[in-house]
């Protein structure tokens, strides 16, 4: 009789492993959401010179627990004119892909659900499925604000998926693998990918902010113009599942991708001696990225929808294609060293940062000229 790990029959071990993995992922998602909501409120409070939550528990630490209990205890409200099936299905459609993406996140050397050789592709795939739930939620709510939110979400997420995937391609070109484990292994030592490919990191990070509906790209929710966008008709734990769990779960997944691809994943001092230390490094790096996202949210105002689309199609996608071309040519020309790629990438970053205000000023001048021309035409 074959014996699996812990002396168990594989017939018991396989389902047991599945249950443990799902329970662990759920545990991490729930606690991560609680922690990140607290973190978000505190960081925003610090940046806006307020105190933030401080009544419940020490430093307000129990505030999100109280909020969660309130959400669970709330009455389950569903407006009569909403579509019964789709209204109930939408939160699940948003939540499931997010939960499934936790399977391939490499927390440490051997702590990973499964090492897929297409791990990166798998993550992108699941990220693209979230849109489906958001669009369905917007439509099923039978509410104009929700509908506009769903429409915006569909347009925005489909557009920003393209630069996101194109940015990942350049990393795959340099590393030569799509497996999250291999990508992490290739970055042993201090020379992590962010020094080699800063430009693709920049593009991915911008696109990821849009993909997770974070400010300045949170147009599908846009509290000040659309009430709550696609979430308008949702309340109680359904709202909690969609917004709190799924959004913060997605933020964690995206930050894990950033950490694995550009910041060396679990690699760090002392990992070779104590492999479990990798979990600590990985978590610290992931939360570093999350804090940057929260900092951006508290700092930048929301874009307008046409600015958002123009920026993606006329800015990010051509730049991402240019980046792929440069990286591919240099990787073919200099197969032994990464220095030319790094130099070219940094030059692109500098050109991007210097070029954005310039292009912006020219666009503004053009718009002003067109406005005054049409004013003249209207007067004559």
């Amino acid at each position: 009789m074959p014996v699996g790990p812990l002396g168990l029959d594989p017939l018991f071990w396989a389902p047991l492993r599945l249950i443990i993995a799902v329970a662990l992922a759920l545990f991490l998602v729930l606690n991560g959401a609680l922690l990140q909501i607290y973190l978000e409120r505190k960081i925003q409070a610090i940046i806006q010179d307020r105190l933030g939550p401080y009544h419940v528990g020490p430093f307000g630490l129990l505030q999100t627990f109280a909020d969660a209990i309130k959400l669970i205890a709330k009455e389950d409200v569903r407006a009569r004119a909403t579509d019964p099936w789709f209204f109930l299905a939408a939160p699940a459609l948003v939540f499931c892909p997010m939960l499934a993406s936790w399977v391939v996140l490499p927390f440490a050397q051997d702590i990973v659900g499964v090492d897929l050789n297409i791990g990166l592709l798998y993550l992108t795939t699941l990220g693209s499925m979230t849109v489906l739930g958001i669009v369905i939620a917007g439509w099923a709510s039978n509410n104009k604000y929700a509908l506009v939110g769903g429409l915006r979400s569909a347009g925005q997420l489909i557009s920003y998926e393209i630069p996101q995937i194109l940015a990942l391609v350049s990393v795959a070109l340099v590393v030569g693998s799509l497996s999250m484990i291999d990508i992490t292994r290739s970055q042993a030592g201090p020379m992590v990918n962010v020094f080699v490919l800063p430009f693709s990191f920049l593009i991915y990070f911008i696109a990821a902010l849009a993909e997770t509906n974070r400010t300045p790209f949170d147009l599908p929710e846009a509290e000040s113009e659309l009430v709550a966008g696609w979430l308008t008709e949702y309340s109680g734990m359904r709202w909690g599942t969609m917004l709190a769990l799924s959004e913060y779960g997605n933020v964690t997944v995206v930050s894990s991708i950033v950490t694995t691809l550009w910041f060396g994943g679990w690699q760090g001092p002392g990992v070779d001696a104590i492999p479990l230390l990798g979990v600590l490094w990985f978590t610290l790096k992931v939360y570093g990225v999350i804090v940057v996202m929260m900092w951006i949210r508290a700092t930048l105002p929301r874009l307008r929808i046409d600015q958002l689309m123009t920026f993606c199609w006329l800015g990010l996608i051509p730049l991402a294609l240019l980046n792929i071309m440069v990286v591919a040519v240099l990787a073919l020309a200099f197969p032994d060293t990464k220095i030319p790629i790094a130099l070219a990438s940094w030059l692109l970053v500098i050109a991007f940062i210097a070029g954005v205000p310039f292009v912006q000023r020219r666009r503004l001048a053009l718009l002003r000229a067109r406005a005054s021309a049409s004013a003249v035409r209207a007067a004559s």
Binding site: P10, F86, I118, S128, I136
Partner: protein, 175 residues
């Protein structure tokens, strides 16, 4: 005891999903439900690819068909009125004999071919992205290029069809 029974069971579930959801897409008279069930069909197809050992194809199937195409269809559906789903004419001409004849004309040869198919199972390896990419860019380079030219033509066509002539429109508005 082994896990040999799992694969046929999973296959049965997926086959039921593909056929059932596919039939429902055509037979239901609610366009949103049809769009979502189409996503389910694509997902089940992706599951089939995974069973065949072609994880890469499965991932692309979900990425393109569920993540992009279905969302685009739903984007169009958003403009329909909620609750007032009209039964759309295409599938509801009620031509039962014709429909039965068409289905039989396709299904019977396919079924006969499927049951007489005895080629050996191909070696697994479709999940490996490197040989896949190599074969796309060497053995199938011509087909790949033809497909990309077709897509380019479609893209240019879409842009041409949707651009508005701003000057002509302004002239019309002034009248």
């Amino acid at each position: 005891m082994s896990f040999d029974f799992v694969e046929p069971v999973v296959f049965a579930v997926l086959a039921f999903g593909v056929i059932g959801a596919g039939a429902a897409v055509v037979l239901l008279d609610r366009i949103t439900a049809s769009a979502l069930l189409m996503a389910l069909t694509f997902l089940c197809m992706a599951g089939m690819f995974v069973l065949l050992g072609a994880e890469t194809i499965a991932a692309f199937q979900v990425l393109i068909y569920v993540g992009a195409i279905t969302v685009l269809i739903l984007f169009g559906v958003q403009f329909t009125k909620q609750g007032g789903d009209r039964s759309y004419a295409l599938f509801f001409q009620k031509q039962y004999p014709l429909a039965a004849a068409l289905v039989a004309a396709v299904a019977i040869p396919v079924a006969l071919f499927a049951f007489s198919f005895t080629a050996p199972a191909p070696p697994p390896g479709g999940g490996d992205i490197r040989p896949l990419a190599t074969s796309v860019f060497t053995d199938y380079a011509f087909a790949f290029e033809v497909a990309s030219v077709l897509l380019l033509a479609a893209m240019v066509g879409a842009i041409v069809l949707t651009t508005r002539d701003e000057r002509a429109e302004a002239a019309r508005r002034r009248k």
